[in-house]
Amino acid sequence: MSVSEKQTVEILKVLYRGAQILILDEPTAVLTPQETEKLFAILRKMKEQGCAIIIITHKLHEVLEISDRVTILRKGKSIDTIETAQADEKLLTELMVGQAVSLEIERPLIEDRTPILKVVDLTVTRPDGSRASDDISFEIRRGEILGVAGVAGSGQKELCEAIAGLMKIDKGAILYEKENIIGKTPAEIIQLGISMSFVPEDRLGMGLVASMGMVENMLLKTYRNGRGPFVDRRPARELAEKLVTELDIVTPGVNTPVRLMSGGNVQKVLLGREIESKPNLLITAYPVRGLDIHSSYTIYDLLNEQKKRNVAVIFIGEDLDVLLELSDVIMVLSHGKITGFLDARKATKEQVGLYMTGAADKEVGA
């Protein structure tokens, strides 16, 4: 069963039990736009039959599309409840952030783009035997943001891990500056300037050590530097302090365990560290997961800044609107296969959605 079918069953189950109130928490994260449309049609029907529905989402256009009234929460406080008919994205954002923000994501164009990473016929198998990446080939250039779209679990995580050297590769090659990096250890790949920041559902996952403070976490990839058996914590402390001021990270102290910090701040720590390692290729997956708008835009700015510094960025995202506005090229994954490359400046959400289900004809060319 597909995810959207599973979700429909889930909803049916609840209705069957005679539920009058339905609470949905980010129901569209795993759906394509088309499937989302279907879900919304079901919800509208339920509404007509007299159900009350609460939908929690971070996608503003969904709020505007489906809801009758909208309650805005900020830091655990209810800010306001308004009729959706009188709201628009700008107003909602202002209420969420508490100040006016621009919703434009800038997209600088870098002229000189030399290829840096080439993935050829990459095939990766998950431990359970299923194909996570099936014959994937693509190329990314310096000064370019490659957006990766696809419903959750289409092989994004495994693609990241394969490039970072954490997954066993069945077939294919990964050429970094024309050199095959398959078989290199993760440490060697880090040395080459490939940096990955994957933000999993639980946010801390593999990028950070939850019980350690910022200083210790800064050391994660650099603790080997310097001679002798001892770890030099001074540069890490300086880096942590620098990140706190530059990225407005809110924390009681640089030694406070990161698990006590809020999600947005944790993500800033993670991304900040990766960027400070001055990578040539930055892989970032779901960097704005669960973040408020304000922090999200800080992250987009950070990524753009990297792009301007001629860094190649692979951006794996959930929100198609953002992907379309931020990326240069969009690569769509479906069940581990690449179903299409789209020029992000011209493509529409519906097009991407079609590729996400694998419905559109395979089309090559960036």
Partner: protein, 373 residues
């Protein structure tokens, strides 16, 4: 509505995870637990018919009243302290090494070989060789479960535990067979070591105590300030993260268990050559297990381990004194130790969790959550 049966299922008391407490409050809680433990223990002593103040006083004075008593207490503390440091290395990596017993024994066995058959070597060379042999013996005994875990994902808790019995049987075999003291009639035992092969005394106690103190500093610095120590804490927190950071998890696992076993093995060498001057099946005296409690009570902090070991040593030595001077049975002393441990360990639970009593029913209208994600 008909769905309030969901509420009836809520238990009278629930366990709820606490938000993290500030350090000062945690220290206060621990102190409170200690006071409660002494009070409860006192109540117990009262029930058996003695004055708790006198008994507690005797425990303290019994352990510290004379230089001789202090020397005896220190002798109890040494193996406990060293072994706690050893298991701490593994525990920092979340590797449940409950095989310290076996590692101590193997350390003692390896060292005993030189004590028995090369007793004519130069004294200091012999001591150094025995120490190295002890560390190698314990280290290999610790390496074995780590190797299987790294390669086949075996459960280290069972593995290390079972190796304890293997080690024990090896000693039994040695004393019944190849290493049997020919001078002993009927009773199978291993010969007493030559004086040349036993540890020298410093201030009346074999110099194991100096090694223990040095080890505290080494383990503290190793875990706190070295790259390898940093790797241990990252691997302990999450192997995924360690791999992501480019660490060779397997290597860290093997290396750390080798070290953990080596420290325990060194303890075995010190016990055999310093305290027992021979090798018996009772070489560990159970410290391999007590050390686990000491290490956790100390939050895996080497300096705190020193304090906790000293307290344990005093309790144990003091208990033996109340046994002899009041005729209190060994069991009573054990109960007393048990009560104190119960409160102190129970306190750790209340630092992390709290109990919430069920609230009175408020109409019972609350529904089952609409299960949707």
């Amino acid at each position: 509505m008909s769905q309030n049966h969901y509420n009836d299922r809520e238990p009278v008391i629930r366990v709820v995870k606490r938000a993290e407490l500030p350090d000062r409050q945690i220290t206060l809680l621990r102190l409170l637990a200690l006071i409660l433990a002494l009070a409860a223990g006192g109540l117990f002593i009262l029930c058996v018919g003695y004055n708790p103040f006198v008994i507690y006083g005797t425990i303290l004075s019994g352990a510290l009243r004379s230089p001789m008593a202090i020397q005896a207490t220190v002798k109890i503390i040494i193996p406990l302290l060293i072994t706690s440091l050893g298991v701490t290395l593994a525990f920092k990596m979340r590797f449940w090494n409950i095989g310290a017993e076996g590692q101590i024994i193997m350390g003692a066995v390896f060292a005993s070989y030189f004590a028995l058959f090369h007793a004519n070597w130069n004294h200091w060379v012999l001591i150094l060789v025995m120490a190295a042999a002890g560390m190698i013996g314990g280290g290999l005994w610790g390496l074995l479960p780590a190797w299987f875990k790294a390669n086949y994902g075996t459960n280290e808790t069972l593995f290390t535990l079972m190796l304890n019995y293997k080690a024990l049987h090896i000693v039994s075999w040695l004393q019944d067979g190849p290493w049997r003291d020919p001078g002993s009639q009927g009773f199978a035992k291993i010969a007493r070591f030559d004086k040349n092969a036993s540890l020298d005394k410093v201030l009346g106690v074999h110099f194991g105590w100096i090694i223990a103190l040095i080890l505290i500093v080494i383990v503290y610095v190793y875990l706190r300030y070295t790259k390898q120590g940093y790797e241990i804490s990252v691997v302990g927190e999450s192997q995924e993260t360690a791999r992501y950071a480019g660490m060779n998890v397997k290597k860290v696992l093997l290396r750390t268990m080798l070290l953990s076993g080596a420290v325990c093995g060194l303890c075995g060498m010190i016990q055999a050559t310093g305290s027992d001057i021979t090798l018996t099946t009772g070489v560990t005296g159970g410290v391999g297990f007590t050390a686990i409690i000491v290490a956790w009570l100390s939050q895996l902090n080497p300096v705190t381990i020193l304090i906790v070991s000293v307290l344990f040593g005093i309790l144990e030595k003091g208990s033996s004194v109340i046994q002899s001077s009041f005729g209190l049975s060994t069991d009573c002393a054990d109960v007393l130790q048990g009560i104190i441990l119960f409160f102190v360990l129970g306190c750790e639970f209340f630092i992390r969790y709290r109990l919430v009593a069920r609230k009175k029913k408020d109409g019972g209208k609350e529904r089952n959550k609409g299960g949707e994600r």
